[in-house]
Amino acid sequence: MAVTDLPEFIRADGPDKVTGSGRYTADMTLTGQLVAKFKYGGVSHGRITRLDVTAARAIPGVFAVLTAADVPDVRYSYGLADRTLFATDIIRFEGEIVAAVAAINADIAQQALDAIELDIEMLEPVVDLEAAIADGAPLVHENIDSYEVTGDTPHSGNVATHSSISMGDAEAAMTNAATVVTSRYLADASHATPIEPRAVIAQWEGDKVTVWTSTQVPFDARAGVCETLELPTSKVRIIAPHLGGGFGGKCGAHFEPHIAALARVAKRPVKLVFSRWEEFIAPDRRREAMIIDVTTGVDADGHIVARTGEILLDNGAYMADSSFFAQAAAMHVAGPYVIPNVHIDAKLIYTNHQPSGSVRAPTAPQGCWAVESHTDEIAKAIGMDALEFRRKNIVTSASTGCVGQTYDEIGLDQCLELATTSAGWGTELPEGEALGISVGWWPSFAAPAGAYAKLHGDGTVQVITGASECGTGSVMTLRMLAADEIGIDETAIELIYQDTGAAPAGPGSSGSQTLFNHGRAVEKASQMVADQLRELAAAQLEANAGDIVLENGAASVAGSPAISIPIVELAAASETGELLGSAAADAIEWPEITGSTCLGEQGFSSWLAPQFSCHVARVRVDADTGVTRVLEVHAVHDSGTILNPVAAHGQVEGGVMMGVGQALTEGTRYDERGHQLNAGLLEYKLQTIADAPTITTQFVEIFTNNAGPRGAKGLAEAPNVATCGAVNNAIANATGVRVRQLPMTAERVWTAMNNPEAST
């Protein structure tokens, strides 16, 4: 069966989720289960002068109260080991956990929290990115030099890590440029906001703990529990029931160690379910605020000759998985353009805000928004059409991009043409309406992943994978791959997933890796089963195994479909009544680069199987109020081969909607002491289905070397990259003014229209 003929079919978890028969972590109840609650620091920067839990422990019905004193003294985090499970001496953000309680019910757990005696000496909070790196700024981490460092994480003072891209001589080229344009953009922090709140249940049996948790990456959650509680891998099992979304925010280990520790002391199962307020303030993964300064020089023909940039990213109080963010942000501010001379510096800065971490295409929506707005500003400055300017400057097949990576066959130029044609670029629109273009890119990530495949005697198959299903469709696509390899119907394939006790390790649902990495492993494990079937069939059909075709549930010799053996018979006839395959995805070679990322290299200075996109947004701006509505988004993506069109369209539509939210309404507001002001869904405004624009999606399918299965690249994050930029350019085209802060709220649009100077 040709790849493009793969049928569309319904996601296996769909009926469960739609009818309510599916169980999420918060739906589970274990016998004797206790309720967990956390005591938060409540201030963004302070020193604990007294912490006494004696009274809390004495309350009847309280089974455990834990502080830093009750867990191993382990400092952890990726890049810089800068944190502990519980605050030890310093509280560094309002949602930092000081203590955890487990009690018979929620009321008593609350009483226990209230009975904890906590005195805090207030310290000056670090809340401003520029002030944070000024001389004499208070330090978020006084003892940073004593922290263990992994990888290339150059840090000093409040700079958690620093990355730069350098190619050619940007300064000299800028001096010789015909036109130079400088822009500054500010992006507010935002949240992943999955509708399912984080929930964790831990239960010990002897010295083994099972943790049910709403994680996107069960193996990272396991690693977190093992590291912080000093447990061997074999003693910890993580199971994720159905996931109600994650959007990156549920990557990594979160609260699994705290709940496992509570359950061990309480000697009972313990369950945590976050409130919506906790969802906003406590998780260590939100989308970082940024200040982006970018300057570009173009020659007389409108070719970009140089770009310099400085990016400050708000890391918040701790490293989550943010150590590569500086590098990713620099790539986005360089953008998918041919620029011979580049110098971009990006600093990830500690503040007393909630930690930043993975949220769908981390750093990209803000970086792309800034640089695509800037791109339109350049085009305007030289009097060139925004489409024409991009045609002249974007990377195409065989061209060399900002870090000196020369691309294979890529489809950005096609994305640009298709999206602008689809939107009708250049046609007259009603008053108040306009189109805006934005191009974006995002890498694919190669990581180790394994898979098992089992063909049972009854002809059904189990595929056991470390992949997770947070909405991206792995429950469909991984089954399609296995079905295609083994030659049986997808419905005969059962996926076992989200259980570290069953599957080989893998990156779960993070970094658009499900198909890219788990898919390659599933394909290979399924091929091993298929190879055995071919051998068995070859013996019976007296042919070469290489000539056996597995199709429609039967094996036959190529060219003679009339004589065939049902696969179920072959499986049953095998020695053990089962055919087994187990495989790991092969390592992939990363492309070379000739420019330099001199500092802070976090493992992907070149971009493997890069994905490209162009979004064109059509907006209508109510000039009297600044209220902007996105009417249409035309999204065209080069994500390589599209194996599952249903899932692919779903990803693009979801990514665009998330982008519209970030563009218009989603932004965290802080007070001057670092407290979130809109930590709830009333004031943190997501888009609703009634706000959804008409989304027209197309794919440019180009076979890509070094890609995932059958030439597929990733796709879950890419659709979230370009929308904000397209919306801003459309607003600028509709109003004649440029909004320089994300989200581009009605008031900010109105302010820009009425008082351009006052709009930052």
């Binding site: 809109n678 709830g680 609703t688 706000d691 009605a746």
Partner: protein, 298 residues
């Protein structure tokens, strides 16, 4: 805590006399308590099954809209849509379909939020609240009912049984518009209702009231100069100016004081424009926010 489900008006009034608090849709009371606005009362009496509270009756003294009428009914009921269109405009904007299916006009009015959407329409239509106890019934003007954010002058044992609205003169129209950042699950940032009566294209009477710009719904004063004028750019500018001047908005997460003040002018003039067009016989579909592309446009 107890919760009693009332089957009749008498059940409710007796319950209130014994200190219970009425709960209609619960979309303010229960959601507010979950958000930490205050514990639920010790004794609740559910009034949503009392059918006599859920009727709309047209009589000589005007139209009586039962306090238990839901927003979903208000936005589609022909009497409301034809004669008191501003109320339908407002009801159609409330929350989401789920909120509108259970949320009631009585709950909206008695909750007393300055951001309540049916408040300004009721004010410009000169509605009065019917308050009943076991012993008495009285009609109260809304500007006397609302005394502050979340506070009414009703006694604890008084049930709001209906909103009573006088018959509007010939050639009248009303409209409610609000500023909103998204199209559902929104709360009024600012809003304005207008009721206009025309005489051959000339304004004979004009009432404007404002949402979310003061501790309670604010009636715009000084509209007399509009009487006898056509609805044109000058009159609309006057309305905008008066509304902006009289508003006492705050700065909060939803908007700055400055923006709110400007926007209330825009909303007030749009409400007057839409009300006048309806008074002139034009059909503007409900909610007028969508029909005119106001706020989060269609």
């Amino acid at each position: 805590m107890t919760m009693t489900i009332a089957n009749s008006l008498d059940d409710v009034l007796s319950g209130l006399a014994n200190g219970a608090r009425p709960i209609a849709g619960g979309t303010d009371l229960v959601v507010g308590s979950r958000q930490g606005k205050g514990a639920l009362p010790d004794h609740l009496i559910a009034i949503d099954r009392v059918h006599e509270l859920a009727t709309i009756d047209v009589g000589d003294a005007g139209t009586r809209i039962g306090s238990g009428v839901t927003h979903a009914t208000l936005m589609t009921n022909p009497t409301v849509v034809d004669s008191f269109t501003a109320i339908a405009d407002a009801a159609a904007l409330v929350g989401s379909p789920a909120t509108r299916n259970v949320g009631t006009i009585g709950g909206n009015v008695m909750n007393g939020s300055p951001a309540m959407d049916t408040g300004a329409p009721l004010v410009v239509l000169n509605a009065r609240a019917e308050l009943r106890t076991l012993e008495s019934t009285r009609l109260v003007h809304l500007d006397e009912l609302w005394v502050g954010p979340g506070r009414t002058s009703a006694q604890k044992n008084e049930l709001c049984t209906a909103l009573v609205i006088p018959q509007q003169p010939e050639s009248s129209g009303s409209a409610y518009v609000r500023l909103e950042y998204r199209r559902t699950m929104e709360i009024a940032i600012v809003g304005a209702a207008a009721a206009i009566t025309l005489d051959d294209g000339i304004i004979r009477s004009a009432h404007v009231a404002l949402t979310a710009v003061a501790p309670t719904i604010l009636t715009v004063e000084g509209l007399a100069p509009l009487i006898g004028k056509p609805v044109d750019e000058t009159t609309l500018a006057t309305v905008a100016e008066l509304a902006s001047e009289q508003a006492a908005p705050i700065s909060d997460l939803r908007a700055s004081e400055r923006y709110r003040r400007q926007m209330i002018g825009v909303m007030a003039s749009r409400a007057v424009d839409a009300a006048a067009r309806r008074a002139g016989g034009e059909t503007l579909s409900v909610p007028v926010n969508r029909a005119l592309g106001v706020g989060a446009q269609s």
